[in-house]
């Protein structure tokens, strides 16, 4: 751990170094995970928080946003759990027409007492990260580390060093989980805090799962979230994933990593609805390890005020005959900033890769900014890959047409914007969950219309 002696660059980094030394062995997994944590910690300390000088962070200065490192949330007390249980229904109402199995996290920690653990069907195993790591299972530790995904990313390294909370969900081979699993994440504390969660979802061969991650945060306090979800999808397995991050308060930072790997003939469909709230960095690292697999990363970003939302994707086609789709829609109002960076890498052996990437943004004000940076790195010769990115305004002619038919201007705008963003949500396969997401987007647009 030589980097511990290297001079930390900021007080936040110094605080993190001190926290790590204190927490190192009491973090979940103890000695078995210590090497992994130490290596990650060293990597983080060597690099520090990413700045705009790091290419992958060109539009998001995390070092500047992390002017201080907040205290790390401890597992909630029994009373806090009771209190969270009491407000769960109102804070995070159940999705309409979706009979989901709920997994509840409080401050990043899995709370079985609030979760639908008894309803979990055969072939579905769910443990807290700490319990799963308690056995020191080398395969599990390796899976959590997600080797080759997000390598060199300092924010991910920080998550690896501090990972706690979170869950491990295993779906046995051949199991079709009929009810969606809905991970509901609440914040209990009114004090400013940092949350480092890491969760792992493994689908055995031929398994099928719909996973929703819904975060809620209503306490108005500043949070520094740095959470990761690792998805391993075996041959012929299908995972649909919908992520709705919390709208944190201004001054918060929210780094959400998704690390996915697919074996052969697997399918992964992931959608993220980001509604801003401080600085949001969504980063996805996805790799096709097996042939004839399909992945779609889609999302909608609805941003206003001083929201900053950065979506950065790296998709690696290692195996041949795979199909990747990226499809993002952004609406930016007021002073909001949006970032879309998508990189599709096609390795020499990944012949017959079919890749298409799109990012479309509408700016509603002169103060809003969208940065689009789609990239292809192709080392195979027999592939079909393309990308497109647009930044535009609402179409004046369409707006006038609707107004001339009687729609007040704000309603006409909302109608056009809804049509624009719904196109991304249309990619969610589960109909009821799609309707839920569309309703959430409609809520954002309606709030804007009233403003």
């Amino acid at each position: 751990m030589n980097a511990r002696s290297a001079p930390p660059q900021t007080s936040a980094e110094a605080k993190i170094a001190a926290d790590y030394v204190g927490a190192r062995l009491s973090l979940p997994g103890g000695h078995a995970v210590a090497d992994l944590r130490d290596a990650a910690f060293d990597a983080f300390m060597a690099a520090g928080f990413p700045t705009r000088r790091v290419e992958a962070w060109h539009y998001t200065d995390l070092k500047r946003a992390m002017s201080e490192a907040l205290p790390i949330a401890s597992p909630p007390s029994a009373t806090s759990i009771l209190a969270q249980g009491a407000r769960l229904a109102s804070l995070c109402p159940r999705m309409e027409d979706v009979d989901s199995l709920r997994v509840v996290l409080v401050d990043g920690h899995f709370i079985p007492a609030l979760s639908d653990v008894v309803r979990l069907p055969q072939g579905v195993a769910l443990h807290s990260l700490a319990d799963a790591l308690a056995h020191g299972d080398a395969a599990l530790i390796e899976a959590l580390a997600a080797p080759g995904l997000g390598q060199g990313d300092a924010a991910l390294a920080l998550n690896t060093a501090f990972m706690q909370g979170g869950f491990v969900l295993d779906i046995a081979a051949g199991v079709d989980v009929v009810h969606p699993i809905e991970v509901v994440s609440l914040s209990s504390s009114v004090a400013a805090q940092a949350i480092y969660g890491r969760s792992l979802v493994r689908l055995g061969a031929g398994a099928r799962l719909t996973l929703v991650e819904a975060e809620a945060c209503d306490n108005g306090s500043i949070e520094q979230r740095n959470c990761a979800l690792v998805c391993q999808i075996a041959d012929d397995a299908t995972l649909e994933h919908v992520f709705v991050p919390a709208e944190l308060s201004q001054g918060s930072t929210h780094v959400a990593h998704l690390l996915a790997s697919l074996q052969s003939r697997a399918s992964f469909n992931s959608f993220t609805l980001a509604r801003g709230g401080g600085l949001v960095r969504r980063q996805v690292f996805l790799r096709f390890d097996g042939d004839h697999s399909k992945a779609q990363l889609a999302g909608a970003n609805l941003l206003k005020g001083r929201d900053h939302c950065d979506t950065t994707l790296i998709v690696q086609h290692v195996a041949p005959h795979c199909e990747s789709r990226e499809y993002f829609k952004s609406v930016l109002d007021e002073e909001a900033t949006g970032v879309y960076q998508g990189k599709v890498i096609v390795a020499p052996g990944a012949q017959k890769t079919d890749g298409a990437m799109k990012s479309h943004a509408i700016l509603l004000s002169d103060g809003a900014t969208m940065n689009n940076k789609p990239e292809l790195e192709i080392f195979a010769d027999d592939v079909v890959c393309g990308h497109g990115a647009t930044v535009s305004q609402l179409d004046e002619d369409q707006l006038f047409y609707a107004q001339a038919r009687g729609l007040p201007k704000h309603d006409a705008e909302a109608m056009l914007l809804e049509a624009f963003v719904d196109e991304s949500a249309d990619r969610i396969e589960n109909e009821a969950i799609r309707a839920h997401v569309i309703a959430l987007m409609g809520g954002w647009l309606a709030a804007r219309r009233r403003a």
């Binding site: 004046e396 047409y401 609707a402 107004q403 001339a404 729609l407 007040p408 109608m415």
Partner: protein, 249 residues
């Protein structure tokens, strides 16, 4: 009654409407003909409240109320309707959804109860049938991929559902086949009412065989240069504009 008095309007620093005066009485069908670029569509936009035009002088009154003070949606609720020369495509919004939103927005603005879904559906279905608009078109995104004639028909359907008091038809006949022209004209004639007036912009006398105007106005260089009865359209058809456009200069 629509009264336009000495209207002057410009866009992007270019003066397009030049002291135009026009009165259309209740129940009247007024036709406007005029060379390309004379400002007919611009006039329709200024009446219906499109942003971007600066009215430097004059006024537009609908039943005595000053339209120029209202935004487009308020004018629509007051009864102004414009059938566009080039109807817009609205991707992602089905025709049904659009119609319902517009009809109910107007009703709300007038303080009337909104239509229930079944009530609305009944009206739309009946209206579509009369104009030969297939039901499946109502489930498609508005005007997206519609043929030129289908778009025009959809404009007339919207007009019949919104029941305006002052309707402008900007070259609604262009792009229509012979049968469609008759259907659309029948649709307009069915809406004729002592309380409703029309401003029909067209290049062709043929439309006026079906929709017989009470008055015909010739527009040139942003003003009305000649007003007459329906026989004026025949005269224009025979001789062109050369007798009139000179007067405007």
């Amino acid at each position: 009654m629509l009264e336009i008095r000495n209207l002057h309007a410009e866009i992007d620093g270019k003066k397009i409407i030049n002291g135009l005066s026009l009165t259309v009485n209740d129940g009247e069908i007024a036709a406007i003909m005029g060379p390309n670029g004379s400002g007919k569509s611009t006039l329709s936009y200024v009446i219906s409240g499109r942003e971007g035009y600066t009215v430097t002088d004059g006024e537009i009154l609908l039943d005595g109320a000053n339209l120029l003070e209202m935004d487009a949606s308020v004018r629509a609720a007051k009864g102004v309707f414009l059938a566009f020369q080039y109807p817009l495509e609205i991707p992602g919004v089905t025709t049904m959804t659009f119609l319902k939103a517009c009809m109910n927005a107007q009703r709300k603005a007038r303080g009337e109860a909104e239509f229930s879904t079944p009530d609305f559906m009944k009206r739309v279905r009946a209206g579509a049938e009369k104009l030969g608009v297939p039901q499946d078109m109502l489930r498609r995104a508005l005007n997206v991929g519609f043929s030129g004639g289908e778009k025009k028909r959809m404009e007339v359907l919207q007009m019949s559902l919104l029941e305006p008091t002052f309707a402008i038809l900007d070259e609604t006949d262009s792009g229509l086949d012979i049968d469609a022209l008759r259907i659309v004209a029948d649709g307009v004639n069915a809406l004729r009412d002592p309380k409703r007036s029309f401003l029909v912009i067209t290049h062709y006398q043929r439309l006026l065989d079906y929709i017989v105007p009470d008055t015909v106005h010739v527009m040139s260089k942003g003003r009305i240069v000649k007003t007459g009865g329906k026989e004026l359209a025949l005269e224009l058809e025979a001789n062109g504009y050369r007798d009139f456009v000179g007067e405007a200069a």
